[in-house]
Symmetry: D3
Subunit: 291 residues, 6 copies
């Protein structure tokens, strides 16, 4: 009985709500894009517009400081950004690390109408439709190209010529969630100091199309935003906003000091491991006094 | 010797070109987004703006006609759009087919700054940050929700309540390049006629965030555009622009007639297979005469 | 300078500590196993001995109540035990659910010395070295056999005869992180109500050896303890201690009532989805009043 | 007719048998664990108790001898232990080999009740709940830590600090059927002579729990027993009881002599390959005479 | 010293041997293929020529008898042919079994010179270059088409029209180590009694080329010879020579009788499982008497 | 009405056609293999017989020229043979390239009747049944052994002794779509200049059987013909007929000249990337003039 009454109440008060639901698709009330808007060099992202005021830029000095820290030390200081870790790349320059700022690109597979639109946009914006070529014209010193390209089932970003062009712009390296050509060339001396981290290497030329430039991308199971600090070596890649850098540097410095002390204690072979790592109250007191 | 001369020429004529190269990032010359722009219901995509004038809408009658055609018959008529095929989904309603218009969504993994921006946008745009909930308010009859969600390593789109909400909007079904909850519920009678095609099913609630609505997405190795015709059954999914429909229907009809004739000939067991499929000149002549 | 002093302090106070470190391996101070101990029917597990006093048993009535709840509803009420979910099994009786108490078995691959020791133990303990056969003698009504068997690279647990023996004991079903024989037989009517959830099915006879009985096992990335409540259907498996059952039943009941109400509201098509799921303050108030 | 009679006979003679079947679970007749038993340093394993009298220890001299033999030469002499081979590890020190005695550890994923019990046990036994830390206190010179940790879907064992602690105990290396942290550090000079063979490397800290110490474990599809001889290099890992060592050394020595002779013959280019490998009767006679 | 002498001996006696080694490639001493030989309908296989005299043909009666036996019962009687088991196919007609004689085909990927040669051969031999079409002309009643087609990374064999043609020849079914088109059509009623077991289903038309007809092929990790008995159902596929059939039928019959007796004993619940399966001496005696 | 008439026509004219269909299997009209035919050193392949007249041999000079070209440069000149690329091998000599002529071998898994036939054939042909041993007797300088061996799920080709034998014949290297033994030995200095590219390395001895020698094989998804030019390095393998070599060398030379010019232009940093790669009309004109 109560249910029936309730049903009527629902009926009475809800009709207008339903009528207010907005239809799908653009309509008269949508704000139009201004002329020339789509030719902007940075792909419009509502997300990035919202975030713009809070996104600082990491300094070159901080990049240098980060370069000396192990991935694990940085990760430990990242708090809620610890999720932003990806592994599974092959490096063209094993043993080298890259630290820089993310220049992001998103690629999609080709289809006829899409290819045509990409060509139109590139013409209007006066950039090269091949995003590796565009990066070879627009990348800034310290940039790390970060390309969403379909992962292990995806496609190639570029070959040696594109890599050379990007390197000459002063970029620090490349992270590709996809593939690359010219493995042997990229392994050579000519690319010392410019590692390419890729899921695979293949001889085929690229056919996927760059669809967003410096907009949010997905690398593995991580969201990378343009301007993110990127740290990548053979152990994987971390991506985080520059706002995290002070905390990371501070915690890593503290951690490094303690760990150096701990290693010394371990090497003395005079303590139980558990009293050293982490420091027991007594040893921590000693440590504090010794500083 | 010739090389030296050349070098000088290069030097002489190229300086100005290089100085004209545009810097990376937004600058004074970029066109600003107008107020309220980011609250538009359809996520801005330069690609879709370019394509807008050429994107028709498939009629309900054509959808009905497509519903009767095998995937392979449609594929055969797709020309350069044959690349737009994806397989590897599990259906909650085996044996059922979905034909409709793509309502696309792109999801990305969460990180603190990103989550905050998504919340801001949802508030400004007055939509639900949970895109399945938004679809349950905005989907149109005949829509097929197409969600880019990380593939087999990705995350869940929704569960039974979200599916119910979307179904009640008259949507035809869902294709998820990712996962879903509530497998058993979605397999039930309550969801007859509303199949969900997903990479996997998992009990966990969703945490990835919808970042683009009705903008280009990637499903497997295929680019799907909002408004694409979607045909999906246990054999896989096809996505193509409505402009392809007349040619598809025509070729499929012609093919169906010939194939029915060929099957009849085969069943008569009076011809060599090679003379029937494809029809030999003689049999084709007979076929033409018999129509 | 300070460091040197510190080094001396370390040297002075740590020598004795280091001397106290215990050597590896059993020594005189170890407590010996009493005679006949290894022939106990339940494999000794220090973990389970610690937990013994806190491990209750789920009642048959609670099992019945759990049988009616979707996996997702149970999962939602599991709090920190939500990690205890595994998916990726193939069921011999699609559409059926199993709810019961975990009878766990751990298997290891054979090697000559190991096989011999297993035979000795089985003789001393008077059980069948084939653990499926042992289960066919010792399983209790309501038990769910949970076998750690190497996952998709592992081995078979049993075939139809072993399954029949276990079924006749009143066991509710079987979960194998490994394989099984006799797929077709187990799919048959004779095994209605006794689903086997396995990673794969293969004709080969089993060769791995049961090494622990009713001790902790790993299924996928989940630790299962003997006596755990097991709920498994085509959507996956949950394992949790009986202490969680009251909270699960309560939260699921509450959730079910709300969700039924929400579904009714959705079907009325008179509210925005976001106001229904979850209930807006107004609708929640209505809901509370309507109960 | 015969069948009926049989049925009666079965009925008559079997009742008592059935009544004797033991119930599942511990009962009054089970032998209790003595006080302090669970605090023993070596986890109780009925299997290892049975095997104890037959398990010798490999001598340091034999380990040195084994260190010079290729994996394949050892494998050839292993007879029924040839199954005990695992491949698919990544080494932190490519080109280095490890030969030693297995110190085994089994890990399981965490869940609240389980974590609590592990803490209780560690307190009672006065060991570190973190098994890498425990190994850094208890490992003996020549030990090879062998950790069952979930394979490629598992978790990390330790990082550089734990590795340093274990190395300082004189352990020879580590084999992890799971992951490790601090790849770059472990690749460094500080860990020369102490290779870690792992399925993967990841920055995350470990969360799985050590549940058995020096008890049987599974590495890939192989059972490893504590005290097993371990030989591992970039080509994979072998595990076998010390009782196999004399036969291995003898067969490998014989094989090495013959193979050296065969290589010399091949290099002479004066014989058909088939007459050299294996030696034809004539060449074998020459070989025997030449020794 | 001894070694030097030996070296000389080697030198002295081996020169002629080496000079006799045959060069690679065809030479004057090779026997030429007779005219028209390559147009033979059955691809020449030296292996099959050697085996010809010993290869019997399984009778239709035996096929019928085999059809009633579970895969596991057949496998048990196969002795050294137990290795000839493959699993991992998807059936278009779940629940159906196929028993028949292998008509084998080997396919290779296309390349220009290869395609041209295939065309030449097909013209000379007067068969259809499309081997599914050729099977639709040449398959015999009771044949099971067994196609080596690259496994899960391979290509499609055929679609519904080819399947119809082959079915109309009286073939019993198809096993493809590769893919097929027209999943939905093949799942339909029109193909009842003609299951296709395939690794995957895809809409693309086939492009790989049939290169051997009724010659040895590899399916998974099993060698299949033309004329092999094939038994395949949802549990996998067995391939064996007809010479094994009598032993298989006999052992399976014996096994079936015993197992039926064992099941009856188990259902009586009056015996320990271990006394029933396998039968204890007492119960075996009873069994023998009861027959 | 029209249909009925048509049906009759079909019936009338088709009977004879059907009667002409050839039965499956060898029959009286088949051309018999001449005596000794199966003992030919090169396995008979109808395909290769057809192609024989058009298959040239690549010169040693051309092999040397190819050795200097990157894989990508060769691939670019391959036209329709671009499909003939395979990646995913592990090299025993990273950094080394192999260029040579394909000596192909096809292997199949063992089964009793098959093993027996292989033994018979080897005896008749006077070759070693172990194909690696046969290669160690028959390979020619510049040969690259290319073995079809089941891919990552396949088996081993050989170990160090077989590799030594083949190397001593002057072969250039080995490509195995399968595995190899003796990884460490093959990585050693003794095998400098003789890289083995394999899918995996394992200690087990080989058991699969060579069934075809210098006949078409499948490597990954590529058909390799005996005598093909093989180019393989850490970036993958290319296989193509010698007829392609002139075009490859010419296009690669042209490409190399242009690319060297382009690199110089890029390094001058005075041009937009898009004007350099590819050369703009102006720069191309400059380039042409500078030559």
């Amino acid at each position: 009985m109560r249910r029936c009454v309730f049903g009527l109440v629902v009926l009475a008060c809800a009709t207008s709500l339903y009528g207010e639901q907005r239809p799908e698709g653009p309509d008269a009330s949508e704000v139009s894009a201004p002329e020339g808007f789509r030719a902007n060099r940075v792909t419009y992202s509502a997300i990035m517009e919202v975030l713009a005021s809070t996104r600082g830029t990491v300094s070159d000095a901080d990049l240098e400081a980060l370069k000396l820290l192990p991935l694990e030390a940085i990760w430990s200081g990242l708090g809620d950004y610890r999720v932003n870790y990806v592994r599974g790349f092959v490096s063209t320059q094993p043993g080298e690390r890259v630290v820089g700022r993310a220049l992001t690109m998103r690629f999609l597979p080709p289809r006829p109408d899409f290819v045509e639109a990409i060509d139109t946009l590139a013409a209007e914006g006066d950039w090269d439709r091949r995003y590796y070529a565009r990066a070879a014209e627009e990348a800034q010193p310290g940039d790390v190209v970060v390309a969403e390209l379909g992962g292990t089932d995806g496609h190639n970003l570029f070959g040696g010529m594109g890599a050379l062009g990007i390197k000459l712009r002063g970029a620090a390296g490349v992270v590709i969630d996809g593939g690359s050509r010219d493995l042997i060339e990229l392994q050579g001396d000519g690319f010392d100091g410019f590692p390419v981290f890729s899921r695979f290497f293949d001889v085929k030329t690229t056919s996927w199309l760059g669809v967003e430039w410096n907009a949010p991308v997905r690398i593995g199971q991580v969201t990378v935003l343009p301007g993110d600090v990127v740290v990548v070596d053979d152990g994987g890649a971390l991506f985080f906003p520059s706002s995290q850098v002070p905390a990371v540097l501070e915690s890593a410095a503290a951690r490094a000091t303690v760990e150096e002390y701990e290693r010394e204690l371990l090497r003395s072979r005079m303590h139980r491991f558990r009293d050293v790592y982490p420091l027991s109250p007594e040893l921590r007191e000693q440590f504090e006094r010794s500083r």
